[in-house]
């Protein structure tokens, strides 16, 4: 801080190619790995050197800096390399090449020291099922060097802050998904990590629980906690992150504040239209209208990117009607991170 260098996380051309299926992540889905099919050409012997050659890197040449006190987001679809990136920064995935430092510590060179300075909430529930709620926090504190008394006092304090006090002595398996997630967050900050890693923190949670977790993360950040989170929910990235990197196929496609990213879109308005008939014909018809910068076909209709769009709605309606298409739905919105993602990748985030 005093030197003006407040990067809590820094990576240098960080790269990961899995020699085999990644060891982490829920079975079936391979969030960090390449999408199914990649790297498994029939010609290559499975697991042999040929197979390694044909695998695409899960993370490719990642250069990243996360500053003290910010919430930094990695936004991208499943398989974009977000979980692999977190895996490398949290010492569980060994980079193929490149380097990474967390709180000034080389994560490959001294993983044990790096682990002492990070808090991690992974996608799966990794709470200790053999222990009750309070014990989960106490033992976590003890792993990180707290005395039994100190850990117990801190555990009770955190249970209160996280509104888990009434669950203090219950077994972990009885907790609902939302409560388990709160307990995992409480546990992850028990030892005052320099960075808190949240991997898809709200995936699978109901909307209300998600909102309360957003609030919690914001409060934590308000007290100075640096956070790196991954998400494939653009609302989440928009609501929480100071800065975010949009990732796809292991690469960062854009990195800016949410506002900056949205400003980078070539339009100030996005009109989404569905109509009877071929979407391609509709797109062709709309493109001729004044103010339409470009059109994109998506599963939810045709997006027309519009600049200076006064009176654009009747113009687009007319264009569709003249082409013999009946408009069934039309909505007008400002560009969102979704728009940015589509513009960068040509596909929707939630495919």
């Amino acid at each position: 801080m005093s030197t003006g260098d407040d990067a809590v996380i820094r990576t240098q051309t960080l790269r990961k190619v899995y020699p085999g299926p990644p060891a982490f992540g829920p079975p079936g889905a391979r969030p960090g790995g390449p999408p199914p099919g990649v790297g498994s050409r029939p010609a290559a012997a499975p697991g042999g050197p040929g197979a390694v050659e044909t695998r695409r890197a899960a993370v490719e040449a990642l250069d990243l800096e996360v500053h003290e006190g910010e919430i930094f987001g990695l936004l991208g679809p499943n398989g974009a390399g977000k979980t692999t990136t977190i895996g490398m920064l949290t010492t569980r995935v060994i980079p193929t090449s490149g380097r990474a430092w967390v709180a000034g510590i080389d994560v490959v060179g001294d993983p044990a020291a790096a682990k002492a300075r990070i808090g991690v909430v992974s996608q799966t529930n990794t709470l200790d099922r053999a222990l009750d709620v309070h014990e989960n926090l106490v033992f976590h504190g003890r792993y990180f060097g707290m005395s039994a008394k100190q850990a117990s006092i801190e555990a009770d304090r955190l249970l209160e802050v996280f509104r888990l006090t009434e669950k203090r002595d219950v077994g972990v398996p009885t907790l609902s998904g939302g409560l388990a997630q709160r307990l995992m967050v409480a546990r992850s900050i028990m030892h005052r990590p320099a960075v808190l890693f949240l991997d898809e923190p709200t995936a699978g949670l109901d909307p209300q629980t998600r909102l309360s977790l957003w609030e919690l993360i914001t409060e934590l950040n308000g007290s100075g906690q640096t956070v790196l989170l991954t998400t494939h929910y653009m609302e989440e990235a928009d609501a929480l992150c100071n800065r975010l990197a949009i990732m796809d196929h292991g690469r960062i496609l854009a990195l800016d504040t949410p506002t900056g990213l949205k400003r980078s879109v070539d339009a100030d308005t996005v009109v989404t239209i569905t109509a009877s008939g071929e979407p391609q014909r509709l797109a062709d018809a709309l493109r001729g209208s004044e103010g339409v910068v470009k059109t994109e076909l998506t599963t939810r209709g045709v997006h027309a990117h519009v600049r200076g769009g006064r009176g654009i709605v009747p113009r687009l309606m007319n264009a569709a009607t003249e082409a013999g298409l009946e408009v069934t739905d039309l909505s007008v919105a400002e560009p969102t991170l979704e728009t940015v993602f589509i513009q960068l990748t040509g596909k929707e985030l939630r495919d």
Partner: protein
Amino acid sequence: MSDTATPTKPSLHFPPLVPTVHSSARSTFIALLGRDLRVLRKEFPMFLARTVMQPLLLMFVFTYVFPKIGQGVGGGPGAAGFSTLLVGGVIASTMIFQGIQAVALPLVQDFGYTREIEDRVLAPLPISAIALEKVVAGAVQALIAGALVFPMGLVIPANPIHLHINVALLVPIMLLGAFMSASLGLFVGTRVEPRQVPLIFGLLVIPMTFLGAVYYPWQSLHKLRWLQIAVLINPLVYLSEGMRASLTKGVPHMRWWIIVLVLGGVGALLLRVGVSGFRKRVLS
């Protein structure tokens, strides 16, 4: 966000960048061990149930029922001698079995579906130390399990057994045996998938027990020379022999230094391979 909305809610106030705690690999290791012992204490009735049943029934059938009904191995003339040699074998097989139950089965579950191990892997110490802690915790359980057999030997047999306990040998043999059993558990636990768990029993535990010199001294196999040689790959043979060497007089057994060397050597080898297997399972 909305500080005014819920003024009564305790505020977070964390100073995240001012570390208040300093962990060392040693204190973390002890804390991990403390966790495993806490769980053992919590689940002690279950531990007892899974530990005691097999040796209890073995002792009961072979050293009580058989002599009473004058049946086969445990009955007839030499019955007292058989009961005496059985105690050592049962302690040995109980310890090996416990090593697998205490270390391998939870690991298989962790790697297979619960993924709980990810949390332990993030504790601030080297991965190898985390694996070693599993072995130490497993060895403690194997020792407790082995120790539980002693009182059974005193109470159950119909004919009195004659133990001549050589403490100077018993202590190192049990320590090495516990270490080797837990290392075997680590090795098995890092290499077996959940659906293969039944194979652990069918292909490992049962053959090891029956061919582990549990019910007979190894030397008595000399009439089946090929078998006597073949069972030497079974580490339980050495533990059984070691237990008898330190508990009995007059029962033939291997030389103590061979037993110590093999138990220590096999334990070290299994630990080494187990730790590298553990690394492979938790890192990618």
